[in-house]
């Protein structure tokens, strides 16, 4: 009984988290929210039979499309036969031919007409204009949603111009809603397009902290009228309320929203936390949230450094030393020279041949810890100049956290004492080298 209810609760919570309608319906009640404003604009243009255009702007993951979908769903319920929706996406349809074909296809589906794939661009655009006229005469509003609006504004903007131009005629009734994550999307429009565009903009911002609290309660508290047993639900909800009021939990959410406070980041965090529910007990604990935080906020370069082998770390330390010596650009040959000089002065046991070092160099390139600084592919790999993509503090931290790194390398990396030509004094140099085959004690 315990496991099944826990699983059911988990599935319920996951379903809620993956459903944008559920999440954004929290904010739909207050009158000055974006939901209400958007609803007002669209419904007024439907009822008054006028044309309109607007832009929804805001960073990614703030719920623009979700709120728009919510508004349209409600409006479709209120005015059943008076709205038809056409959705276009800049990633898919930025080519004009594609876009017009897609518009024609969606119009055909909506009005149950036959769509021919062989229709040309002219056929499709004439069809679109004709349909707009017909819909206008029938008092039906066509709502065009242009997702990734900034991608439509690249190139010649033929589609935008034809759409907005078609809206200028008396008999058409259309609303064009552009959605973009670039806040200057309207500056990208050409002059003739911009003059036909009404400069209505709705700004979607990441939520403030108390909104997040409201959202948390809305999502995590299980409903009392579901199929789950009643006492389980009350116990679950009381535990959740305790956690939400806990100071440590507030620290966790602060840490999360300090780096990225958009809705999508928050929902990912909650999804990860919900998936940590212990299915035996069936309740969420504060540790779930803490582990979710560490999963979401990763430091990929440090993880990479932890995985590097000693030879690869060695090469990066050589490059860091070259940078410290203020050698502006260096390539594999100079790194090898530095490698040999370290070996000559400090007698390490890691002296490998050139082919081995080239391969380790290529591994570093694959892991994207170093990168070529020039663009061409003309030279072979030994001569192209490279640069390190990690800072010295990251390198130092990575060296410390790598389990198999000998202590001596820490001394190499942090040598920035004297700048005399070619001589670098290592103050922290400690020889704790284990000889490679020395384990075999007689």
């Amino acid at each position: 009984m315990g496991r099944r209810t826990a699983e059911e609760a988990q599935v319920l919570l996951r379903r809620r988290l993956c459903d944008p309608n559920f999440i954004f319906s929290v904010f739909s009640d207050s009158p000055d929210s974006n939901y209400s404003k958007l609803k007002f604009i669209v419904s007024s243009s439907v009822t008054e039979a006028c044309n309109n255009s607007m832009l929804l702007l805001g960073p990614r993951g703030c719920g623009k499309i979700a709120v728009l979908d919510l508004v349209l769903e409600d409006l479709l319920k209120e005015y059943p036969e008076m709205i038809s929706v056409i959705k276009l996406n800049g990633l898919l349809h930025c080519d004009d031919n594609c876009a017009v074909k897609e518009i024609a296809r969606q119009l055909c589906i909506e009005h149950e007409l036959m769509f021919s794939k062989m229709a040309s661009y002219d056929d499709n655009s004439q069809f679109m204009i004709a349909m707009l006229r017909e819909c206008g005469l029938a008092h039906k509003t066509v709502v065009f949603i242009l997702d990734e609006f900034d991608l439509f504004a690249q190139g010649k903007q033929r589609l935008l111009y034809s759409l907005l131009d078609a809206m200028q005629s008396v008999s058409s009734q259309a609303v064009v809603i552009g959605v973009s994550c670039r806040l200057d999307a309207d500056q990208l429009l050409e002059k003739r397009v911009r003059s036909r565009f009404s400069h209505r903009k709705l700004l979607f911002l990441p939520p403030p902290k108390d909104d997040l609290q409201r959202l948390l309660k809305h999502i995590l508290l299980l409903p009392t009228d579901s199929s789950l047993p009643h006492d389980y639900v009350t116990e679950f909800n009381s535990r959740i309320s305790n956690i939400l009021a806990d100071k440590r939990f507030i620290e966790v959410t602060d840490k999360l929203s300090d780096s990225d406070s958009t809705f999508s980041n928050f929902l990912r965090f909650l999804f990860s936390a919900v998936s940590y529910i212990d299915l035996r007990s069936g309740f969420m604990t504060l540790d779930n949230f803490k582990s979710a935080l560490s999963t979401i906020q990763r430091q990929p370069k440090l993880d990479c450094l932890k995985d590097c082998s000693i030879l690869e770390l060695y090469m990066m330390v050589c490059m860091k030393r070259l940078e410290v010596k203020e050698q502006g650009s260096y390539n594999f040959n100079s790194v090898m020279k530095e490698y040999k000089s370290i070996h000559d002065s400090f007698q390490t046991s890691d002296n490998y041949s050139r082919t081995v070092c080239i391969r380790a160099f290529e591994h570093l390139l694959d892991r994207q810890l170093i990168e070529f600084a020039d663009r061409g592919h003309n030279q072979s790999i030994e001569f192209r100049s490279v640069k390190l993509l990690i800072s010295s503090s990251e390198l130092h931290q990575g060296l410390k956290s790598n389990r198999s790194c000998p202590v001596s390398y820490l001394g190499f990396g942090s040598s920035n004492s004297s700048k005399t030509n070619g001589i670098l004094k290592d103050t922290k140099y400690v020889v704790v080298e284990t000889k490679s085959v020395q384990h075999y004690e007689d």
């Binding site: 940590y276 380790a360 003309n378 030279q379 198999s404 075999y440």
Partner: protein
């Protein structure tokens, strides 16, 4: 043949097409009719399902990652956010995911961005799998739907997914009553797995394809779909102009030494012997690399060497034997470390390099070349001369050609020995540094051929004296046709000894660059008995 006499034929029948009609009957019987695909093929497809313990034990060292993936995928029919699995190469990401799906017995569609090398292949591959279409001879090895544009892909994918999900739901309702245990899929959620995602960054239209893939889950709006990405580099290396929606990351770290030891100990007949071998060898090799594929190719010949002094491979070694084996192996460890990334090709060790890497050489001189034990590939004489000329052309500045190679093909005059002052030493160091950094220079084709002509005329001069002794006859007069030489140049380009270095802006002709190191050039010159050092320009 008989078909050609047919007066009704309006098109001219070639002999080939006429004869192929006769063969058609034979080949018809050879067509293997593969059964049509069913929904059951969307699942991993092994006969017996994999238990949880079997899953953990088949992937050593991956217990944490398996648990994480299992908990993110969740119970049956629960919706899932997109997942992004990343980690180094050969850390077991793909096998972990596929074995997890084998354990869970859920339907999935796997496509690798390595085998599908552009977007059209990728889209059509996914659609073929969803529409249960198999490419066979009957449909001319074509895909189910031709899909090139992203818009078409999204529409077709949506239709195909709805179709598959409906079928799965229908099957789930039906099969609960039937007794088939087999491999019918559990649940009605379909998972799309994209492997090797980092290769998409190098595709043509990657700036639109990558955001599309990351946003696929949102665009589709089909609730019973999960998307999983597998990549060998982390999310922050995927650059995009306006960003994309982040999936949930799952990190797969490299194997630690203990994990590697566990992996190498699997399926061993004599585990004690193997473990004593690993005690000796694993730690020094792990200092160089911890990648499983490289370690396994490096360690297997060493293991063979380690077992050589043993008469009986099944013996459990005691301390004495271990010591003996260790001292036998020890001198081989250091050179093996230096060759750790080299995959030795078997024939070259045994036959001495006669028959591998045949070059496209048609104008071989003087029969088969004599023992080239210093170079382990086989090249014709003229190819070697070309290689040396390319090296000289890259190394020396063009203005010196006249003095180094005068018209009679004589060798360079002796350089005037001056006492080098301190300033010239500094200049020498600086120029060496520059040589270090810049690399070999470029040269046009005409210069290469001119140097080649000069060198070979010298060589023939000295070889003619030898030829007189051995009595070899001579096409020594000219060095072969120019077309043969140009063929050699192109084959050297193909093997990366000469690369194209971009074109000269004034003339527009391509320039070449030699990528041969000085050691290799000296080896080749030594095999030809060519005095390379006299021609090298040293400041």
């Amino acid at each position: 043949m008989s078909k050609e006499e047919n007066p009704q034929v309006t098109r001219r029948t070639t002999r080939l097409s006429a004869s192929s009609v006769l063969n058609a009957n034979e080949s018809a019987t050879k067509i293997v009719n593969l059964p049509p695909l069913t929904l059951r093929d969307l699942v991993f497809g092994e006969e017996e399902p994999l238990s949880f313990d079997g899953l953990i034990s088949s992937l050593p060292g991956r217990r944490n990652q398996i648990l994480e993936i299992l908990r993110l995928l969740g119970p049956v029919n629960s919706p899932v956010s997109p997942l992004f699995v990343y980690g180094g190469t050969s850390t077991g990401k793909t096998s972990t995911i596929l074995q997890v799906f084998r354990h869970l017995n859920r339907p999935f569609v796997y496509s690798s961005c390595r085998t599908c090398y552009n977007s059209r292949q990728l889209f059509e591959n996914i659609l073929n799998q969803l529409l249960l279409h198999r490419k066979s001879e009957s449909n001319g090895y074509s895909s189910a739907k031709k899909c090139e544009k992203q818009a078409d892909f999204v529409n077709l994918l949506k239709e195909a997914l709805m179709g598959v999900v409906d079928n799965l739901k229908g099957n789930a309702g039906r099969s609960s009553s039937s007794k088939k245990t087999g491999v019918s899929a559990s649940g009605s959620t379909v998972y799309l797995i994209f492997d090797s995602l980092e290769l998409v960054r190098d595709w043509d239209k990657s700036s639109t394809i990558l955001p599309l893939l990351f946003k696929l889950h949102d665009i589709l709006k089909v609730p019973d779909v999960g998307v999983i990405f597998i990549s060998s580099s982390s999310l922050d290396t995927y650059h995009s102009d306006t960003g994309f929606v982040d999936p949930i990351p799952v990190y797969v770290p490299d194997y630690t030494e203990e994990d590697l030891r566990q992996i190498f100990m699997r399926n061993q007949s004599n585990s004690k012997l193997r473990s004593s071998f690993l005690d000796v060898v694993l730690k020094p090799f792990c200092r160089v690399t911890r990648r499983l594929d490289e370690l396994s190719t490096a360690l297997s010949p060493l293991f063979k060497k380690y077992c050589e002094p043993l008469d009986d491979l099944g013996v459990v070694p005691d301390e004495d034997t271990k010591r003996r084996l260790f001292s036998y192996l020890q001198p081989h460890i250091a050179p093996a470390l230096n060759e750790i990334f080299r995959v030795r090709s078997q024939p070259s060790v045994e036959t001495g390099g006669r028959d591998n890497l045949k070059r496209k050489s048609s104008s071989k001189k003087f029969g088969v070349s004599d023992s080239i034990d210093e170079i382990d590939f086989h090249m014709s004489i003229s190819a070697k001369y070309l290689l040396i000329s390319a090296f000289l052309a890259s190394r020396n500045p063009a203005t010196l050609d006249a003095s180094l190679f005068d018209s009679t093909g004589g060798s360079a005059n002796q350089k005037r020995k001056r006492k080098s002052s301190e300033k010239s030493m500094d200049l020498k160091e600086a120029s060496e540094q520059e040589q270090f950094m810049k690399g070999p220079g470029t040269f046009p084709l005409e210069r290469l051929l001119a140097i080649f002509q000069c060198i070979t005329s010298v060589a023939e001069y000295s070889l003619e004296e030898e030829a007189a002794e051995t009595g070899l006859d001579g096409e020594n007069g000219d060095t072969g046709l120019m077309s043969d030489i140009l063929l050699q140049v192109s084959s050297l380009c193909n093997s990366n000894y000469i690369t194209k270095g971009g074109s000269c802006p004034l003339e527009g002709s391509t320039r070449y660059r030699s990528t041969v190191s000085e050691d290799l050039a000296l080896k080749v010159a030594r095999s030809l008995k060519f005095p390379l050092s006299k021609y090298l320009y040293r400041r």
